[in-house]
């Protein structure tokens, strides 16, 4: 009789996801779900959903959830957490949501040191609306609103969010990971779990950026999109732990 050693995390419903084939949103969602289940905190979690592809997650999570307006997830999460300090409150936001329309909300929540966890999925595009230029779109990268490639003279440069957030005093954990390879996925999982653990420990604001792909809107196969990430995205957005005040406090 075979032993089942791998299964879908219980805090995800037993459904197939609606994310495009090869899209790393699915993997990022699974890593967060695994972390929640490994920490054994599913019933204490309140998941604040953003606007974008990841709004679809409302169909897949078996968690308490609040769907917010575009970019406002950190403000909504603030209201939730202040009223339920015993809850573990996280938001999973895309780059249009977090780095463009919601830039103020995320930076100010970070600056207040809200005891929430923000996961930032950066795929350099507006996925749900069909591949428009995001604040994180790379120089020269094509999108439906910069068809000849992003031109910094008129559209500026891709925003490095971790580097902005790390300049604030309050955040306790700021890190960027890429989900391009098994080794990096393992590192990301560790960071994700730590960002949730920080809330259990009552430490403060945690920010984890996850570099992912968008094969559909990049016009690439999943394999090509991973190669593009490695050759371009990961060079512009360095993967590292920028702030870790949890280590300091352990010393």
């Amino acid at each position: 009789m075979a032993e089942k050693i791998y299964t879908k995390p219980p805090c995800l419903l037993p459904l197939s996801s609606g994310f495009c084939p090869g899209c790393l949103h699915s993997l990022a969602t699974k890593l967060i779900a695994e972390s929640i289940d490994e920490l054994g905190v599913a019933e204490k979690v309140i998941n604040v959903l953003p606007v974008g592809c990841s709004t679809m997650n409302s169909l897949y999570w078996k968690l308490d959830m609040v769907t917010s307006a575009h970019g406002r997830a950190p403000a909504v999460a603030t209201g939730v957490k202040r009223c339920r300090p015993d809850a573990l409150v996280f938001a999973y936001q895309g780059d249009g949501d977090l780095a463009s329309i919601g830039l103020s909300e995320v930076l100010m929540a970070a600056n207040r040191g809200e005891h929430i966890t923000i996961f930032f999925a950066n795929n350099s595009t507006y996925g749900m609306t069909g591949g428009q230029m995001a604040p994180t779109t790379l120089i020269g990268q094509k999108s439906t609103t910069c068809v000849f490639g992003r031109d910094p003279d008129t559209t500026g440069f891709p925003i490095r969010m971790c580097e902005l957030v790390k300049e604030l005093e309050a955040p306790v954990y700021v890190a960027r990971f890429a989900l391009n390879s098994p080794a990096n996925i393992r590192k990301a999982k560790k960071g994700i779990k730590k960002a949730m653990q920080n809330q259990i420990d009552g430490l403060g604001f945690s920010f984890v950026e996850l570099l992912i792909n968008c094969p559909t809107n990049w016009g690439m196969s999943p394999v090509q999109s991973i190669a593009y990430m490695e050759e371009n995205t990961m060079k512009y957005f360095p993967c590292k732990v920028f702030v870790d005040k949890t280590e300091e406090e352990e010393k």
Binding site: S58, D64, M65, V66, T67, V76, G79, S104, E105
Partner: protein, 358 residues
């Protein structure tokens, strides 16, 4: 009970605390800033939460998050700030979340003026945000009535799982008057309700608060909202009718304008003019019957008096009058206040001109 002498904005803050509000997020804006100022120290005294948000938008979304947990939540602002909050108000309505919103109106449009005005009637009653939703709108005309309405507002919000608006103006917010404060409401031990998010001690997971639905589901929600609006119109209209029995001229005024109009009416009555007033206390639901069921064999005309040019309630009045009497308007605007003498003179002028034309 002892009366206190309080500023309107602060009295409203205390009424909210006594009515069970335990979460407030707001942003400084004249003429309502005393409300967040007061609550910044008052809410922590009752184990509540005050947050000075980074923006009006963030404030209403913090209220959205707080309301999702079942906390009694409120925000306040003044006209331009309410425009910024309109996104969040629409989302509150869509997600069926209770919340209390205070608008201490100032002159408009745009940045307008910081002085008192009543120029947000249409926004409040017709389109407080995108998507064709309505909410109950209360319009006090005194600090005492503001206290009483804000005290009860969370009950309506909870009952209907809907945002509720209390439409004040810069006069009521910043003037001082004597006020009797109601007793503290007893609050349930837990903020959890069957629909809220947050672990309630039993095994459960998967409650969803959402402002987005599949198409058929959304149409169903829209229909339910219509049914709720009908219930409001049947059960929740509040109106003051003043000296209407023999009135040949009927003033329609709400909020601070009704206070001024009342004095003008008393002055005109002393001169033998048969004038009365209909004062909507709920602007939505609008007191349609009071206007529709006037005796039009007796009424010679209605005069809409507002601290707004144009008078914004006029179309709602005309929809009930249906041409059975002429409707006139008088107002000051942009932060210029109404006063007794000019208002009396304006009413007299309208009556005189109508009589000479008639």
């Amino acid at each position: 009970m002892a009366k206190l002498f309080m500023k309107g904005n602060e009295a409203v803050g205390e009424a909210a605390v006594r009515g069970g509000i335990r979460f407030f997020a707001g942003y400084p804006i004249t003429p309502q800033s005393e409300l967040p100022e007061y609550l910044s120290w008052r809410l922590p005294e009752v184990c509540g939460t005050f947050i000075q948000a980074e923006s009006e938008v963030a404030a209403i979304n913090m209220v959205y998050g707080a309301a999702a947990t079942g906390a009694r939540a409120m925000t306040g602002s003044s006209s331009p700030g309410i425009s910024l909050k309109s996104e969040g108000i629409s989302y509150l309505s869509a997600a069926e979340l209770p919340a209390v919103i205070i608008n201490v109106q100032r002159g408009g449009p745009g940045l307008g003026s910081i002085q008192p005005a009543q120029q947000d009637y249409l926004q409040a009653t017709k389109a407080p945000g995108h998507g064709g939703f309505r909410m109950m709108v209360f319009a006090p005309n005194s600090i005492q009535e503001a206290v009483d309405l804000v005290y009860e507002a969370p009950e309506y919000a909870d009952r209907d799982r809907s945002p509720v608006l209390v439409l004040m103006d810069g006069c009521l917010g910043t003037m001082m008057d004597e006020v009797e404060l109601p007793p503290f409401k007893e609050l349930p031990e837990t903020i959890c309700k069957p629909w809220t998010v947050g672990y309630d001690g039993t095994t459960r997971s998967g409650h969803l608060i959402t402002p987005i639905y599949p198409e058929a589901g959304l149409e169903g929600k829209n229909k339910l909202a219509v049914a709720r609006t009908k219930r409001w119109e049947e059960n929740d209209v509040q109106v003051e009718e003043f000296m209407l029995d023999d009135a040949e001229w009927v003033i329609v005024a709400y909020g601070i304008a009704s206070r001024v109009a009342k004095q003008a009416i008393l002055n005109l009555r002393n001169k033998g003019v048969k004038v009365g007033m209909i004062r909507p206390i709920t602007l939505f639901p609008f007191p349609k019957k009071s206007i529709a069921e006037l005796d039009y064999s007796q009424v010679k005309g209605l005069i809409d008096i507002e601290m707004s040019i144009p008078a914004l309630m006029r179309e709602d009045i005309e929809l009930q009058v249906l041409g059975r009497a002429p409707v006139y308007e008088y107002g000051r605007s942009g932060g210029v206040l109404l006063d007794d003498d000019s208002t009396e003179a304006a009413i007299w002028k309208i009556i005189e001109e109508a009589s000479s034309n008639g």
